[in-house]
Subunit: 346 residues, 2 copies
């Protein structure tokens, strides 16, 4: 079955075509993005979201900006400013910047060269996801016989990652190898990416799943209902601390207490060696209305204020392994900046 | 200011008058409950909820059943069956049963005696709440100078507790003593008692507060934004393990890691010496639609299943203190059944 998910983002002539993730699961609506403003708006309101997908959007964004510059007669300086705006549209995920940087050098050779590089970059993101799935599923399969019950948070599937997925890619790979029992999905408030997007993708793939509120995640682990937790990452600091969707940290604490493997699945591009620890990762704060309202309906009293951190930081000592397209990191990453991996602290 | 909260439950002639907690914060609607069926329905759909409030409902429920028995010519056996139905309307909170048992012996002396005992019981619940507030606030004030930033989960105020509150009562007492900075409120999915009820009560009391999604609770603690966590309890096992609203356990894990005091505020009636540990507490599972829908709007895909534990269990080793109307328990409760308190495990 070729599902709608397989075409989560694409480049057509002069525009980005992608799924508007805000209206799922009720509607599969495709957007035509032809300007930098439209792209930034889509990124800010999370119509386009997910770390690897933001990498793809950054890569295609450079091409889009160049096409618009040509059409509108922008100066070189204006073009650079617009590309910078794309790069900075969201602060936490490092992949957006990575995608922009991957294509920018090619732009000096013209739009066609930039377009080719962007498409290659997206191809590379997809291939990396497949490898993450291979490595992560192989790692989990060594931990235990028989089918695994896996818990995940937020959405890290094709919608977030171009085509296969990172954490959800590991889950898909387990499913492909007939080693998946079922998936426990945290709903992921405030924007419910777990219930709206992950459950939708799993349903498309015919994978059995159960939805739980985020607050239930730790108890489900304590009840012995889960064999492994797999999540994605928006940025990984040089010491291995992981920024991921708000709600990840509590799940990691519970997995650690129960000695249940806690895997982070992410491409190498998510590792930011320039950020020494999680404490230096800028954590995006989003609109209060995401919490005071659900689907446009106000749930909190008028005047109640909310505190909306989009991400949290999971310290490295709670993480069993970070799985990338190249390796499985279970040692301390503190030596990463100098290229030598230290030992994991006892 | 006498707020609407002060009349959360009352007995008038032949009926229970109470606030329908399901339509808050948008509407303060009072219910007239005149039959056992109506009472059970109100308890099951959480129009009446909160551990001490369930104690009050159990106490008044015996009187209500007796009045209905007289009106309808029920046999003594039928009356006993109906009272049993009230007692078992929800499985986790032990207070419902406690309230029924507090009034049942008086019923042999007639309806007036039962009514008097029920009203005394409710009076006692209110007085106990005040004492819990006194003890809890005094304990927290010894831990630190100046105003405290307190985080709480679910709703434990007047709505849940007749008049003053347990955990929210501790917070009110701090506020009364001018030692409260502000309150961080977990929204408490699935039914949003935090955002709908606690924020509403705090707004009525003029107490500054900020709402966070449940998944953000642990990160808010890790960010150093909280001086103490105070929650209620639905049942406390003999060893000190606490059943409370789903989402409590993850918060306790985070507080423990950050060495932030984690208080459980509950009346003595919540302590169930017949239940040795948290593992023996029956945890209610509720309708999947509470998770797949928010305010009647479907957020998850059709056919997605959900797992809805209404409560979780927080092990005693994560709890700094249990505050009741009589004492502050920081030692191991394992000796409770024999009346001697053991030491807290290292």
């Amino acid at each position: 079955m070729v599902s709608a998910v397989d075409a989560a983002i694409a480049w057509r002539n002069d525009r980005i075509i992608c799924i508007d993730q805000t209206v799922l699961p009720h509607e599969v609506r495709h957007m035509n993005i032809t300007t930098v403003d439209e792209l930034i708006d889509a990124i800010v309101r999370l119509a386009i979201r997910g770390a690897p997908m933001l990498g793809a959007a950054g890569a295609l964004g450079v091409v889009l900006a160049a096409v618009q510059a040509e059409r509108s007669g922008w100066s070189g300086e204006r073009l650079r400013t617009e590309i910078d705006r794309i790069r900075q549209a969201r602060p936490t995920a490092v992949n957006l910047e990575w995608g922009v940087k991957a294509v920018l050098p090619a732009l000096s050779r013209g739009i066609v060269a930039a377009e080719t590089t962007a498409l290659e970059t997206i191809e590379r993101i997809g291939a990396a996801n497949r490898e993450i799935g291979n490595h992560g599923s192989a790692y989990l399969m060594t931990l235990r016989d028989g089918p695994l019950r896996v818990q995940t948070h937020c959405n890290t599937g094709a919608l977030a990652c171009v085509e296969w997925g990172t954490a959800l890619g590991v889950i898909r790979s387990l499913h492909e190898r007939d080693r998946l029992a079922h998936v426990i999905v945290n709903e992921t408030r405030p924007l419910l990416q777990g219930s709206r997007l992950t459950c939708w993708e799993l349903a498309q793939l015919g994978i059995e799943h159960q939805l739980v509120p985020d607050g239930a995640g730790p108890f489900v682990l304590a009840q012995g209902l889960v064999d492994a937790v797999v999540v994605g990452a928006d940025r990984i600091a040089a010491n291995g601390d992981v920024a991921n969707k708000i709600g990840t940290y509590g799940l990691a604490l519970a997995a650690h207490r129960e000695r249940i493997p806690f895997l982070v699945a992410a491409p190498e591009s998510t590792i930011d060696r320039a950020t020494p620890t999680g404490a230096s990762i800028p954590v995006e704060r989003r609109s209060e209305s995401e919490i005071t309202h659900v689907a446009g309906y106000r749930v909190a009293p008028e005047n109640t204020r909310a505190l909306n951190f989009a991400f949290d930081i999971t310290p490295w000592d709670l993480i069993t392994a970070i799985v990338t397209e190249r390796r499985i990191i279970t040692d301390d990453l503190r030596g990463a900046a100098s290229g030598t991996w230290g030992r994991r602290p006892a």
